[in-house]
């Protein structure tokens, strides 16, 4: 899939950006390209190692392999036309990598694409095509959800991690944990109710 590197210092992936991503570069001339390459190299050096570490916490050694989806997320970032509008490259990369991981599971990808299309009416794109300016929740809302998430039971955390972030089906989770699918469904419903009640307060 992609060449892997465990250390960002070993790799400078965007040194020939004008060639590898020419279609994505805005027609602003050479200065823009230089600025863009600088930006991407900076983001890569600053975030690649941490991103792989965060993904490893979620996926373990994989599949999907953390290095693979981290590099695929960087490719997505490099493909964003107006990179200056990306509010937080770190958050963009993590969210994109999580979505890429989910989309590597066919059943989950289908459902996510369906749901996403219901929201924006776009029936062509995959969910990982995140608009850089997309802000799902504000800072305060995210902090509230974070606090509520910390109060979940270990079992609820495990189910949320496996379902929302690893993209495991209920049958997968049942196989790994022994919890019944009805229980898993009920726990997810309860988790979402708790998190949403935090937002509505």
């Amino acid at each position: 899939m992609h060449a892997k590197s465990s250390c960002p210092d070993n790799v400078v992936p965007f040194s020939t950006l004008g060639e590898t991503h020419s279609a994505a570069v805005s027609p602003g001339g050479q200065d823009d390209e230089v600025e863009r390459t600088r930006f991407l190299n900076h983001v890569f050096r600053q975030h690649y190692g941490e991103l792989v570490g965060r993904l490893r916490k979620i996926h373990g050694a994989g599949p999907p392999e953390p290095e693979d989806i981290a590099q695929a997320a960087f490719s997505k970032l490099a493909g964003v036309k107006d990179f200056k509008r990306i509010h937080s490259p770190r958050a963009f990369l993590f969210r994109t990598a999580i979505n890429l991981g989910l989309n590597s599971r066919d059943k989950i990808r289908r459902g996510r694409n369906f749901l996403s299309n219901q929201v924006d009416g776009n029936f062509a794109s995959d969910v990982e095509e995140i608009s850089p300016e997309t802000v799902l929740m504000g800072k305060q809302e995210l902090e509230r959800v974070s606090m509520a998430m910390q109060r979940l039971t270990p079992k609820q955390k495990e189910i949320l991690l496996r379902s929302r972030f690893r993209g495991q089906t209920y049958a997968d989770i049942r196989k790994d944990t022994g919890w019944s699918e009805a229980d898993i469904s009920r726990q997810l419903a309860r988790i979402m109710a708790l998190l949403q009640s935090e937002l509505g307060r």
């Binding site: 916490k57 993590f94 989950i108 998430m149 079992k155 972030f165 019944s180 419903a189 979402m192 937002l199």
Partner: protein
């Protein structure tokens, strides 16, 4: 197509709008990898029923999709330290019951829930509700216990065993499976042993009954042993003895968790014992009251006064209310 499971049925979830609950259920169902074209069509039918449906859906999806933006989400979800989830929610008034000089954390919003961790790593558990309360408590092993009114569970979790005692009242146990740490629940009259399952225990003055909702459990007294599977119920009939295994109606037997008490051919004495866990005034059976009168009845814990008035009319009993208590006696 059936609707996805609706949340909020145990009394644990905070109140919210029906539409939000339905929207969340749809988002969870459609994200689960189980979606089929038929389910998608059913969802579309639901979503296009009104603009409010659409808004509720977008609200739920925004939350589900936005979870990946929560700072350090991977750490939060992989953190199995019990300290964080047991931290008290800031909004609810509560009382503290501190174990023997050990640091204690609150488990749940209402009622009393205390876990204290000793230097050996054993965890002491005290869960209790007041009269009229129904509360679900989350335990550190992922289990959940729902207590009816005026009920209490105590116990200890160690590295090798999980031991609980139903001191008083009734409780629904949703026990996380852990083959390395079997769970026993002691009611004094009998012991229940499980690996991971769901079951209900009702402790009344003269009997204890166990109803298995899922999985299987072993019930023992000093004299008897019964192995129960889902749908089985057994009641202690006398000191140290168990009655035969019978089937039960889960809808009625377990409805107390949503505040509804349901009885089929049950003695007045047992019904009044349960009512006393929810009534604002004690209900007392006078010495001449027909405690063995068998009744089939179902009512909300909010309607206890009306129900007692109805019994007065329908059965040979008198119900007399004072400011301090309600007394049931034989009608003349």
């Amino acid at each position: 197509m059936k609707m996805p499971h609706k949340p909020g049925q145990t009394g644990k979830c905070p109140p919210d709008t029906r539409l939000d609950a339905e929207a969340r259920a749809w988002v969870i169902e459609l994200s689960s990898g189980h979606a089929t074209p038929a389910i998608e069509r059913a969802f579309n039918d639901w979503r296009t029923m009104s603009p409010r449906h659409d808004v509720a859906f977008k609200r739920a999806w925004r939350l589900w999709d936005g979870l990946a933006e929560v700072e350090h989400v991977e750490q939060i979800l992989t953190d199995r330290d019990n300290g964080a989830p047991l931290r008290p929610a800031p909004r609810i008034s509560r009382r503290w019951l501190v174990g023997t000089g050990l640091a204690a954390s609150l488990v749940c919003a209402a009622g009393i829930g205390v876990l204290s961790v000793s230097s050996t790593g054993a965890e002491s558990i005290v869960l209790a509700t007041q009269r009229g309360e129904i509360e679900t408590f989350d335990l550190s092993d992922g289990s959940q216990i729902t207590l009816g009114g005026a009920s209490e569970v105590m116990g200890q979790f160690s590295a090798k065993a999980r031991t609980l005692r139903l001191v008083e009242g009734n409780a629904y146990f949703d026990i996380a499976r852990d083959p390395a740490r079997p769970m026993t629940v002691d009611t004094h009259q009998l012991q229940v042993r499980v690996l991971g399952t769901r079951f209900d225990i009702k402790k009344r003055p003269d009997s204890v009954s166990i109803s298995v909702d899922s999985g299987h459990v072993r019930v023992t007294t000093r004299e008897d042993t019964r192995d129960l599977e889902a749908g089985d119920q057994v009641t202690s009939v006398a000191a140290l003895r168990l009655g035969p295994v019978q089937s039960f109606n889960p809808e009625k037997e377990l409805s107390w968790r949503t505040g509804r008490l349901s009885y089929i051919d049950t003695s007045l004495g047992d019904i009044i014992a349960d009512i006393n866990r929810y009534s604002d005034r004690p209900v007392r059976l006078a010495s001449d009251a027909p405690a063995n009168l068998r009744l089939t009845v179902s009512f909300s814990v909010q309607q206890i006064g009306h129900v007692l008035a109805g019994l007065d009319t329908a059965y040979p009993i008198d119900v007399n209310e004072t400011e301090d208590e309600i007394v049931i006696s034989k009608a003349f």
